[in-house]
């Protein structure tokens, strides 16, 4: 297994070592499939992930090796996923979001315990399809891809404070949906 960082491998691909691109696919295939499966719920998620790697290869020379490769490829994936949603018209994607307009109180990465996060993950698995794309995506990236606010901000091109706001609202919607499905859930906790 190659010990080089993603950025070093990407730099090698940029220099013409096309075989190294296989390493990047190996490292990100599972992650992007997981991201697609939870964000898109589509049968053709594999096709879309394949398209992400094709786009990544075509545009690899636009990647700045001083920055994080993961944020770069997740950004490509995000764009592809949003395009897929728009194409299928399964959900509404708003062109303008008022959450981006105003400053929000500085939202920090929450310091919830692993037990709480695990419980949230279980709830999310049950209800993700009932949460709109705007809130579902940061929830997937934070709780399943284990990315922090700054990384999610780079992927979604939104301020980190807005990431915090969307996560908080997403969690509130999640709790409401869980209670609708199982009213005893809150009491049983």
């Amino acid at each position: 297994m190659d010990e080089a960082t993603d950025e070093e491998v990407a730099a090698r691909v940029q220099d013409g070592d096309i075989k190294s691109f296989d390493i990047l696919i190996e490292r990100y295939e599972k992650k992007l499939k997981r991201y697609a499966a939870r964000f898109l719920f589509k049968d053709d998620a594999d096709d879309i992930v394949q398209e992400v790697f094709i786009k990544a290869y075509i545009n690899i020379k636009s990647f700045d090796a001083q920055k994080k490769f993961s944020s770069w490829i997740y950004r490509i994936a995000h764009n592809e996923f949003i395009n897929a949603i728009k194409k299928k018209k399964t959900e509404k994607i708003l062109f303008f979001d008022f959450d981006l307009l105003f400053p929000h109180p500085a939202a920090k990465d929450s310091a919830d315990s692993e037990a709480i996060n695990n419980s949230l993950r279980v709830m999310l698995e049950k209800c993700l399809d009932k949460i709109g794309a705007k809130y579902r995506e940061p929830l997937v990236l934070y709780y399943f891809e284990n990315l922090n606010y700054a990384e999610i901000s780079e992927i979604l091109h939104i301020p980190p404070s807005t990431v915090g706001v969307r996560l908080a609202r997403g969690k509130a919607i999640l709790k409401k949906k869980v209670n609708e499905i199982d009213p005893t859930y809150e009491q049983s906790k």
Binding site: E26, E29, Y57, K61, S62
Partner: protein, 257 residues
Amino acid sequence: MNNQNSQKNQLPINESVMQAVRSGMIKMRPKWQFILRAVLAVIGSIVLGLFALYFASLIVFTLQRNGAWFIPAFGFHGMFVFLFSLPWLLILLTALFLVVLEILVRRYSFAYRRPLLYSALAIVLVVLIGGFAVAKTPIHNNLSNYEKYNGRLCCAGMYRELDRPRFNDIHVGKILGFTQEGFTIRNRAGETLLTVLAKRTKMPYGADFSVDDVVVVFGPRHGDTVEALGIRRIDDMGPFPAGPSRQPPALLPKTGR
């Protein structure tokens, strides 16, 4: 690409992508394309910013030149007339440039990492402050004079409209002399108007006027007489015709017209 996908789908993702890479079916875009795109985006942003700055300064210049800028000092009626005197088409055009500029700027991390309000306010402030600064320079006056005497600007006709009063209650002119009722002024159209003062005439910046002062008179016009509701002295925002035999300023290039 869909056909390619259906073929590739029979293989695992890494194999199908690497096969497409090795066969040359997909190729890396050369770096110069990304650099060119980034340079074009920067140039586009600068050009849009300059246009927005030009239009913002033209709005300020137009309002100052036709006197509407100074009218809010005369109270609610003045404010009302000011709002109706605003060049809304120019304002909408400037706003459109600002929106496109904001969309272009949001691509950069310094903008998207912060709330949209910050980058939007920064752009509006830069354009407004820049607009005021440019309006203070002689650029619009020179362009206006050039167009007046040569008429060859690409925006032909735009500056000619400046001297035309946008609202009947605003009169900008140079004081020619004083009468028992008030004073006479000559406006940019070369007309001589008698300005009649009354007790209710507002003079928020004093009544110390003298011959050759440029003033804005606010009030209804009846023939060649203006019933002054408000008067204030203003900075000279451009030439006033001296008489029927006026000549173009010597510095302006002459044409065969």
